[in-house]
Structure formats: C-alpha cells, structure tokens
C-alpha cells in the first residue's frame, strides 16, 4: 500500500500577515535597586505614558529601594561585579568608589535632563502610571506601607499584579 503525499496548495502555504496592533499597556517589574537598573524601568514606563500607553509598575525584591523613603535619594551604581564599569574589580571595591561612580552618573543624567529618581517617581505618578509594591518582598525586608513614598498606590501580591496587567506587555528589569 502506498501513501501519497500531496503538496499543500500554494495559498495554504502562505502564512497570513499578522496584524500590527499598537501597544496599549505596559507592566514593568522593577526588581533591582541600583541606580543603573532603576532608571531603565522608570524611563520606559514614562515614555509609555508620554505616548498615551497605560503603565503599571511593580517593585519587588531590591526594586523596593526605589520607592522606599529612606533609600530613594541614595541609590548607587554597582562598581563591583559590573563589567560595564571598565575598572578593575579590586579598585571598584575601594571605599568611596561607589559614591564617586554614582555621583558621576547622577551628573550625567542631569545633563541629559533626566531627573533624580524621586522626581521620576513624582512624574510617573502625575502621568497616571500606577505604582505597586510587592507584598512578599515587603514582608521579607520587614517594610511597612509607611516606609514607602506616597506615590505608591498599594502593596499587592504577584497574582494581583498579573490581574492588574491584563492585556499588558510585561517587562522584567
């Protein structure tokens, strides 16, 4: 018994061109508390709002430092274990290196008209972006609602975060 293989007809072979739908909502998970990892999430969320795209931010693990009153003005660049610093790790570990590198970065950001993190959070809040803190990380680092800046809407679980991210493109930073 022979099996006959039939070639699919040409029109069946052509994949339909997917329709390009504009992004309407982005959800950014901010999981790091260094200056260089805080800015990308904040800037992307802000760019989304400026384009009329809804933005939701979820601060978890070290990302909580970005919305904690005590640390928001003191985020640092990591000088150790950061190959992009282009300085030897031994030097990066010297006392004061992190402060110097952080100050240099802050000055460069200001030159580009990028505001300090506290002002970025205020701009995001005024733009209508929604900021949430992760309940589990809050418990782990023993922080309370009062430790957070007032722009934070709520402390929520990971499942709540996904409920609030309906239809969103999720970015993990």
């Amino acid at each position: 018994m022979s099996t006959q293989i039939t070639e699919p007809r040409a029109e069946e072979n052509v994949a339909p061109t997917p329709a390009r739908t504009p992004i309407e909502h982005v959800s950014v998970i901010v999981s790091k508390g260094t200056l260089d990892m805080a800015y990308p999430g904040l800037i992307l969320a802000n760019a989304a709002r400026m384009s009329g795209i809804d933005a939701t931010l979820f601060f978890t693990f070290w990302g909580l430092d970005v919305i904690t009153k005590k640390s928001i003005d003191h985020l640092h660049v990591a000088t150790v274990g950061n190959p992009s610093m282009h300085i030897p790790t031994m030097l990066g570990g010297l006392p004061g290196m992190e402060s110097v590198a952080s100050e240099v970065m802050k000055k460069q950001m200001e030159k580009l008209d990028i505001p300090p993190v506290r002002e970025m959070i205020e701009i995001l809040y005024d733009s209508g972006a929604k900021l949430y803190a992760c309940q589990m990380a809050m418990d782990m680092f023993k922080r309370t609602r009062e430790d957070l800046v007032p722009q934070v809407e709520d402390v929520i679980s990971a499942m709540d975060f996904f409920d609030k991210s309906e239809g969103a493109q999720v970015l993990f930073i």
Binding site: A47, G52, I53
Partner: protein, 105 residues
C-alpha cells in the same frame, strides 16, 4: 502621503501624523490637528503649551520633551496629561506642527 486641510490650506503629514514642514503651521492647522487627534476644542491652556513648544523649538532647533514643557511653560505634568490625554509627549509637538520629540523624558 496623508494631507491635512484647514481653511483651504493643504499640508503634508508623515505616516505618524506629524507635519512634514513645520514652517507651514498656522493656528487654524493646530485646531484641525487637534480635531484629527481627538483632542477637541483648544483652550487657552492648550495654547499656552503650543506657544511654548513653537518658541522653544525655534530657539533650540528641536521640539521640547515633556519634562522641559512642564518645567518651563508653567503647565504642570498632571495638567499636560489632562490637556492631551492620549499622550502629551507626542501630541503637544504634533498639534504645534513640530516633529516627534527625541527626548525620552
């Protein structure tokens, strides 16, 4: 290329709806652009933003970013989002007849 018409004047728009030649801009075109973008009737506060954007762009050769507008025009961030709900970053420049701003802030 799409064309916008206001009071007998026709101007070219690019694919994203920004005016190709910002020197052709007139207040009537701003009203037509606002209508097209769903902003509706322009208020005195809209005009404050538009006037600032036009003047700032003329001075600096590029359209201002949103933080620059909020810092220098006297219209705060929150209000900019009320005036241009579908994205003030693009729409303020668009209605002002300027190209899309390069600033991320």
């Amino acid at each position: 290329m799409p064309v916008l018409e206001a009071k007998g004047t026709e101007v070219e728009l690019n694919d994203e709806g920004f005016m190709v030649d910002s020197s052709q801009w007139t207040p009537e075109l701003a009203e037509a652009l606002a209508e097209k973008e769903g902003i509706g009737a322009l208020t005195e506060r809209h005009w404050k933003v538009i006037t600032f954007c036009r003047e700032d762009a003329a001075q600096n050769g590029q359209p201002p970013g949103l933080r620059r507008i909020s810092k220098l025009s006297g219209v705060p961030t929150k209000e900019l989002y009320q005036l241009f709900p579908k994205g003030p970053g693009k729409l303020a420049a668009k209605v002002s007849g300027l190209p899309k701003p390069k600033a991320c802030i």
